[in-house]
């Protein structure tokens, strides 16, 4: 049976003692897409990825990955997936070349093509100069390229990348994503966790996790179109005072200051969000201009991960 989805999970949950790290997660990851996991620290991204590759046994629920049931048959899955751990997990006391060679041997990569493949990867991931450098002495960006090279060496159908770009500068991140798009173009399904908005925006599809619960999923466009919020941009002379004033309004879901601008989220149910805010500011003699604008992914994230307001 060949499913159109690379990953299908139903009710996937993981309990660590008292803590419910992942809670009834349903997931459908189409083949050949880049699927993002967006979530703050401790939201269960790593735990989910580990359950999907059979490293952790789910407390409840089931998952089918590349038509293989995990964790029951995760042994059959291993040769078909590439996994890049959140923490650098290659051997620091071996050179770049030795690490690649070891991975090739472990995956029984055809002997005749081994050195060609390693040369190709060194080229592609810009590691030629570091070929004989000990992996432990490399910079964050270099390590990350090596980790990706090792994860894709055996041409996996599915790549699981756990926060691959933490500790990497913006330029390297852009290059890294170029590589991901190339891999996806070649038919590889990629599941990538991140807490960067700009990265989430690049994904074909994403799920937002919060406290182990999937609070939203869809394409970035879909998510932005159905936040359920009006987004109001306020430019005030005294942004700090303005924020205080707006915050006091019960209807306002959240106010975030970005330099001199404030982004105000107000639920759809209010018909005149702009008037509401302008009125509140005028009442305090605060000068400001306001305008309604389209939601960004950041707004979506704030809206869905928001704690219920207590006042």
């Amino acid at each position: 049976m060949h499913s159109e989805f690379a990953i299908e999970a139903r009710g996937l949950s993981k309990q660590f003692g008292e803590l419910r790290a992942v809670s009834s997660l349903d997931l459908d990851v189409p083949r050949g897409e880049i699927y993002g996991f967006l979530g703050p620290n401790g939201s269960g991204k790593s735990t989910t990825i580990r359950m999907l590759c059979g490293l952790l046994t789910p407390t409840e629920g089931s998952a089918t990955v590349l038509d293989t049931d995990v964790p029951e048959n995760s042994k059959d899955l291993k040769p078909k997936i590439g996994y890049m751990t959140q923490r650098f997990s290659l051997f620091g006391d071996m050179t770049v070349f030795e690490n690649l060679q070891f991975i090739a041997e472990i995956y029984s990569y055809p002997f005749a093509d081994r050195s060609t493949r390693i040369g190709e990867l060194l080229d592609r991931y810009d590691l030629v100069a570091q070929r004989n450098q000990l992996a432990g002495t490399m910079s964050g960006g270099e390590r990350q390229r090596l980790a990706l090279a090792c994860a894709v060496l055996h041409h996996p159908e599915l790549l699981l990348l756990d926060e691959p770009t933490s500790a990497v500068d913006p330029q390297s991140r852009r290059d890294f994503w170029e590589n991901l798009f190339r891999l996806a173009g070649g038919g590889t399904t990629i599941l990538v966790s991140t807490h960067y908005m700009d990265e989430a925006e690049r994904c074909h599809r994403l799920a937002i996790l919060d406290h182990g619960v999937k609070v939203a999923d869809g394409t970035p466009q879909e998510l932005q179109n159905r936040t359920g919020m009006h987004v109001l941009e306020v430019i005030a002379d005294d942004p700090y005072a303005a924020q205080g004033a707006i915050h006091e309004l019960e209807a306002v879901a959240s106010v975030t200051q970005l330099g001199v601008r404030l982004r105000v989220l107000i639920p759809d149910s209010h018909e005149h969000p702009r008037e509401l805010v302008e009125h509140a500011l005028a009442a305090r003699n605060l000068k400001a201009t306001t305008r309604l604008t389209a939601a960004t992914l950041e707004d979506v994230f704030v809206a869905v991960t928001m704690k219920p307001r207590k006042t």
């Binding site: 580990r50 590759c53 964790p71 997936i81 650098f88 997990s89 290659l90 030795e98 041997e105 029984s108």
Partner: protein, 366 residues
């Protein structure tokens, strides 16, 4: 074939990492040599050169002859002559000497008088070994009594066989020491082997590859078997060169016994590795095995003299059986077929420890 290649990949990786790990690499060679020297020279129950002072109150020709004989035994190192017995006591109390010899003024007469001892030995009784030696010395003057002066000299010289070269401690110690050194290094290396990879995060990568638990275990053990054999050769060479320790039986038998013993310890190390969460915990567990391996294996104290419970514990330890094997092969010229039970025990121990280790090590994180 694939499993074999994967095992080889692990072996290659381990060797590479070991080569770059100066400390561990140094321990492979340094630990056995240093321990050999420490144990070989320090644990010396054949006592020589005990610091001795003499109060010769007789001053006769016979007394001087007695002193000369005493000196020749090499058991005592006469460092001082004093006047009175009180001075000897002072020296003893100050720890300056271990034995004080009082030769009374009527020494010549006492020698021929059977009812009285001719010489008085003042001994530092805090060290049981010294007391034992002194007791041996004490019997010497009695030789004078029964057989006259000439015979007395002979009797004195006759003490020497007690300290003859065949009774030198290193000869008895080294077969056991071999076991202790191998226990220490082999368990140490493998006990941290898996824990270290867990700590460094390598394990999360490894268990997500097609590599199986057994392949990983076997691959990690193979390089250390080779190292164990090298250490054995080193110990034998040092034993031969410095302490003149013979191998009376067959070298092949010895190596066969040692392979079984090394394998047993490596499996035990792996077992520890699957139980420990940190390298520090692994070290602690290693010491937990090492101490009884030194104290209860028959290495330090004769096995037969131990309390029953200690004997039971001793029987479980691989080192106890290895010491029986090595003492048999090296010193008594025994052959392996005569020592089969001990060999079988080591092989059985290896299998059980390996199986339990592979079972305990799951390819999961929870």
């Amino acid at each position: 074939m694939k499993p074999l290649y994967r095992i080889m990949a692990i072996v290659k990786k381990e060797v590479r990492q070991l080569r770059r790990d100066r400390l561990t690499f140094g321990m492979v060679v340094g630990l056995p040599v240093i321990q050999m020297l420490l144990f070989g020279y320090a644990i010396n129950t054949d006592v020589r050169n005990l610091r001795t002072a003499i109060s010769d109150q007789a001053g006769t020709h016979l007394a001087r002859q007695f002193v000369a004989e005493l000196r020749q035994t090499q058991v005592v190192d006469i460092i001082e002559f004093v006047e009175t017995a009180e001075e000897l006591e002072q020296l003893l109390r100050g720890g300056k000497i271990s034995i004080g010899v009082v030769i009374p003024p009527d020494f010549d007469r006492r020698v021929s008088d059977q009812s009285r001892s001719a010489v008085q030995l003042l001994v530092d009784g805090t060290d049981p070994t010294i007391l034992g030696v002194a007791n041996q010395l004490k019997t010497m003057p009695i030789g004078f009594d029964s057989a006259g002066h000439a015979a007395a000299s002979q009797q004195l010289l006759e003490v020497r066989p007690f300290y003859n070269p065949e009774r030198r401690t290193p000869v008895n110690i080294i077969p056991g020491l071999m076991g202790v050194i191998l226990t220490m290094t082999m368990i140490l290396f493998t006990a941290v082997a898996i824990v270290r990879e867990r700590e460094r995060g390598n394990l999360e990568l490894l268990i997500n590859t097609p590599l199986s638990s057994t392949e990983l275990m076997v691959g990690k053990v193979i390089p250390y078997i080779v190292i164990g054999m090298l250490q054995l050769a080193l110990i034998l060479a040092v034993g031969r060169l410095l302490f003149d320790v013979p191998v009376r039986g067959s070298i092949a038998d010895l190596y066969l016994a040692a392979s079984a013993f090394v394998a047993a310890n490596l499996s035990l190390g792996l077992l520890i590795s699957t139980a420990a969460k940190t390298q520090f915990q692994a070290m602690q567990m290693m010491v937990f095995v090492l101490l009884p391996s030194i104290l209860l294996s028959g290495f330090m104290f004769p096995f037969d003299g131990m309390p029953t419970l200690a004997k039971y514990i001793g029987e479980v330890l691989p080192n106890t059986h290895f010491i029986r094997l090595t003492r048999g092969i090296m010193l008594r010229d025994a052959t392996l077929p005569e020592l089969l039970p001990d060999l079988f025990y080591l092989i059985g121990f290896t299998l059980v420890a390996m199986i339990v280790a592979a079972m305990r090590f799951s390819k999961r994180l929870d």
